[in-house]
């Protein structure tokens, strides 16, 4: 009797100790490591002060007539109404910006994908080409390149000189409203290298067995491209498409330095419209409203791209994204 009691109590003690241990491990796991908050605190402060506050403040400003010299007065939706009813520049900027995005983004991505496909072979010296093609991406945002663009596409500039060799009559690339936007859009296309590198990384991820199998099945090269390469590359295409579209809608430097919106506002991109209203006319309230419309446009287009991605983006893990 005594013996069994001690047996039981020993058992219970053992169980107790075990439970304690489990509990200890669990609480240890659960324990927050508050020091992590300390490490991320720079970002946390930066986010609050330099992103979240400005983000919310710009909603407020967009409903005021704030102009830096006077106090802000609440004007309701006047800025938004004015934009659509009284500002012809707004429509011009929208029109030109959409055109610009439609030329620059597909142009850049198609060339980037094309060159990446060609470069995705084992060939000596291929790294050299990667370097050469990447170089414009590094220089692209600089004023120096914008200056260069102005000289290249001048009436008697290099481009017209080369074209005349082939008997093509010179065009006024920057002076004519028909060509100027296209000339500006060539600049981001010239910088296709960064997208190309991302495509190349994507191409390297495609398992070689798939190509072997296609070869065994006697699939043609065109067929292989459309049935294997392109579907497996769609996630990378989506990524590039989204990032490039967001950037293209906000283009500023090229249009500002090369043409300053002209001729006849043919290159008056939305970024320029925003800059002029905010920092030239100091119509901060109106400019904030303009920035929210741009944000809305970018947001909707990004959303459409993501929503539609269910239909055209192939996910190797079966399509369930989290």
């Amino acid at each position: 009797m005594k013996k069994s009691a001690s047996f039981f109590s020993a058992e219970a003690e053992k169980k107790d100790a075990f439970c304690k241990q489990v509990l200890e491990i669990m609480t240890k796991q659960r324990k927050w490591q508050y020091v992590g908050l300390l490490y991320i605190s720079p970002w946390l402060i930066g986010f609050m002060v330099l992103t979240l506050y400005p983000f919310l403040a710009s909603v407020y400003y967009s409903f005021t007539d704030y102009s830096m010299v006077r106090e802000a007065n609440f004007v309701g939706v006047k800025n938004y109404v004015d934009m659509f009813t009284k500002d012809p520049d707004f429509y011009q900027a929208l029109h030109v910006t959409f055109l610009y995005v439609l030329i620059a983004v597909p142009g850049k991505l198609i060339i980037a994908l094309f060159i990446a496909m060609i470069m995705n072979i084992r060939l000596r010296g291929i790294h050299f080409f990667r370097t050469v093609y990447y170089l414009p991406s590094i220089l692209g945002g600089s004023v120096a390149v914008a200056v260069l663009w102005r000289f290249l596409f001048m009436r008697d500039g290099l481009v017209n000189n080369v074209l005349s060799l082939f008997g093509i009559p010179p065009a006024d690339w920057l002076g004519s409203p028909d060509y100027a936007l296209f000339t500006i859009a060539l600049l981001p296309i010239w910088e296709f290298g960064s997208s190309m590198v991302i495509f190349l990384a994507g191409l390297k991820q495609i398992p070689g067995e798939l190509y072997e199998a296609a070869k065994v099945d006697g699939s043609s090269r065109v067929r292989t491209f459309f049935s294997i390469t392109l579907p497996l590359l769609t996630p990378v295409i989506l990524f590039n498409l989204v990032m490039q579209t967001i950037n293209a809608f906000q283009q500023f430097t090229a249009a500002f330095v090369v043409t300053n919106g002209g001729p006849a506002k043919a290159t008056y991109l939305y970024g320029l419209l925003l800059y002029n209203n905010a920092f030239k006319f100091f119509k901060m309230g109106y400019a904030s409203a303009l920035s929210w419309v741009l944000f809305g446009i970018i947001f909707i287009i990004t959303l459409i791209l993501f929503k539609s991605s269910n239909r055209w983006v192939y996910y190797a893990d079966g399509g369930e994204r989290r």
Partner: protein, 280 residues
């Protein structure tokens, strides 16, 4: 190598070369135009100058106003170097926090940070400007230093977080056993391993800040504080239609540091990419 594959490689090689020349030719042309006599730049298609006029560099360097390009370059370095250092340090800390610790709201905060990658700058730029104006930071470099100090560009944090995730936690735990605290785990154990990624961060930030134009345009308004980008545009607007070779010369000089960094850092680029590639 069979003959068919060989022809294909040769064709590919030729195509890539031709395409490369097409894309790089403007830059080559810019260099040669900068040493041509002024009247020759647009008169002839010939690339090689009839005589080399290095004088364009000397005269271009002197600039148009009271300040020469030496002054603009000094400004650019005063602007860029702290921004690069601050970005690297702050992003490293923040990435370490996100990659290695459990704290309340970590998931949502990380998602929030990633979402700022896609937030158009246009929507925060105006209130940010008004805020910096309140602080009295207009016409100083604070609007560049502060965002760098506070790791506002999530791209760099994300890049480093990805890199940290590839480093086994066993290393941290072993270091803790040996008596390291969380700070010395970062500086003594993880930092040496993350160096390739940190260098990538520095290179990207160097290039982006060097090219920075829009923020310089809105925040800096006295010529004495102009970085090269603004100085170059000012020269262009004043004399752009006359002294072409001088403008070209200064354009060449202004992109030289970028080209130098790019070629010097090639190895680090490749190493960084290779390491992360192996991990995934």
């Amino acid at each position: 190598m069979n003959p068919r594959r060989r022809t294909r490689n040769i064709v590919t090689f030729l195509f890539l070369s031709a395409f490369g020349v097409l894309f790089i030719y403007p830059l080559i042309w810019m260099f040669f135009a900068s040493v041509k006599p002024n009247e020759e730049i647009f008169a002839t298609l010939r690339l090689w100058p009839s005589e080399f006029v290095w004088e364009s560099y000397v005269r271009g360097w002197l600039g148009v106003g009271r300040y020469n390009f030496g002054h603009f370059f000094t400004n650019t370095f005063i602007l860029v170097v702290p921004v690069v250092v601050l970005t690297a340090v702050s992003s490293l800390f923040v990435a370490y926090g996100f990659a290695r610790f459990r704290f309340p709201l970590k998931g949502p905060l990380f998602a929030l940070m990633i979402s700022t990658l896609m937030l158009p700058d246009a929507v925060v730029i105006i209130p940010r400007y008004i805020l910096f104006r309140e602080f009295g930071w207009l016409n100083t470099y604070q609007p560049f230093y502060m965002p760098a100090l506070l790791a506002v560009n999530a791209f760099f944090v994300f890049l480093l977080v990805q890199f940290f995730r590839g480093i086994p936690r066993d290393l941290d735990e072993a270091a803790v056993m040996d008596g390291c605290n969380s700070f010395s785990v970062l500086t003594r154990v993880l930092l040496p391993l993350t160096m390739p990624a940190v260098i990538s961060v520095c290179i990207f930030q160097f290039i982006w800040t060097w090219n920075e134009f829009f923020n310089a345009l809105i925040y800096i308004n006295s010529v004495s504080k102009y970085p090269v980008s603004l100085g170059l545009r000012m020269t262009m607007d004043n004399e752009g239609l006359v002294k072409w070779n001088e403008i070209m010369a200064m354009s060449v000089v202004s992109i030289l540091p970028l080209v130098a960094v790019f070629f010097l850092a090639q190895r680090h680029f490749v190493e960084g990419i290779a390491t992360t590639g192996l991990k995934s």
